[in-house]
Symmetry: C2
Subunit: 153 residues, 2 copies
DNA sequence: TGACTAAGTCTTAAATCAAGACTTACTGTC
DNA sequence: GACAGTAAGTCTTGATTTAAGACTTAGTCA
């Protein structure tokens, strides 16, 4: 299977991964969540090749995950900011961070602590059911075809 | 930056992505969550090149995310099953699915429905704070260096 | 005028992936 | 006993993507 055909699959995971499932995009988005906004900043913090960065940013703008905003008139300069659709990726990123904290942090503890402003505590992310509010576990979930099902998951 | 050096970065997201952040691994894991277990099944359902599949499965076994279990003696045949560490990736996958459902499903609705067995309802995943139980939003979180901080996020 | 800045584009070599043929070690059938 | 079939890979080749860094453009500042 070629990668571009992934987006056409009738599977929400495949369609999400067609956009953020490459080696760099989620790291670019991590920086965006940490309020990195300019091309050179992304490059410096990530150590990503400029060509690849340029291509990823353009894709993310195309997809409406980042938007370009003018911050200086002459010469015109733009910065990249998360849209609401981009902010919606926060659960994905915090879940990956939490998984890394849990399984790779070692004895010294995690490299970063996350504080929930509204309650004031350092937290871990917990994925819950929208209907009953309980924590979700993979083996407590069943899956069935939805309204736009064709094949596959 | 070369990809293998990502794992050595002092950032839980980078370390997670060093393992699951390539073009195929999360799709392989989707299949594992859907109870696909054998090499040929993974190949048939994903359309992945055998060489790449073989390499990814080996990496996932190395990392303790899948385990090989003998299911037949002669010739010896193994199947791949999620370990607890692998099951811990469920929040990542369900969050990606939910994001895809939300932003790419179109009018007809999502391709798959997920039912929470213990409450009986179809659900969406919600990421919450382990301390107060409220839903988490990116802009309601602050970040600071943790016990093993060196640099970066 | 010349150095500097920000945001890219271009080039080349190295690494990774797609597609499919080939291999190995057995089982079950004629 | 030969032969097709099965499951889980490995190998080969050409196409695609990435890394690294030089180059470009349009303007500012000393």
């Amino acid at each position: 299977m070629r990668w571009d055909s992934l987006a056409k699959e009738n599977c929400s995971l495949a369609r999400s991964l067609a956009i953020v499932g490459d080696r760099w995009t989620l790291l670019v988005l991590r920086e965006a969540f940490l309020r990195t906004r300019r091309f050179d900043e992304f490059e410096a913090k990530l150590g990503i090749a400029r060509r690849v960065l340029s291509e990823r940013l353009a894709l993310l703008v195309d997809e409406g995950i980042l938007k370009k905003m003018l911050y200086q008139d002459s010469p015109p300069r733009y910065e990249y900011r998360l849209t609401d659709k981009g902010l919606d990726l926060y659960p994905v990123i915090i879940s990956l961070v939490h998984w890394g904290d849990r399984h790779y942090a070692g004895k010294k503890g995690p490299p970063m602590l996350h504080t929930h402003k509204s309650c004031g505590h350092d937290f871990k992310s917990v994925v819950t059911c929208s209907e009953c509010g309980e924590g979700l576990k993979a083996r407590d979930v069943t899956v069935r075809p939805g309204p736009s099902a064709r094949k596959h998951a």
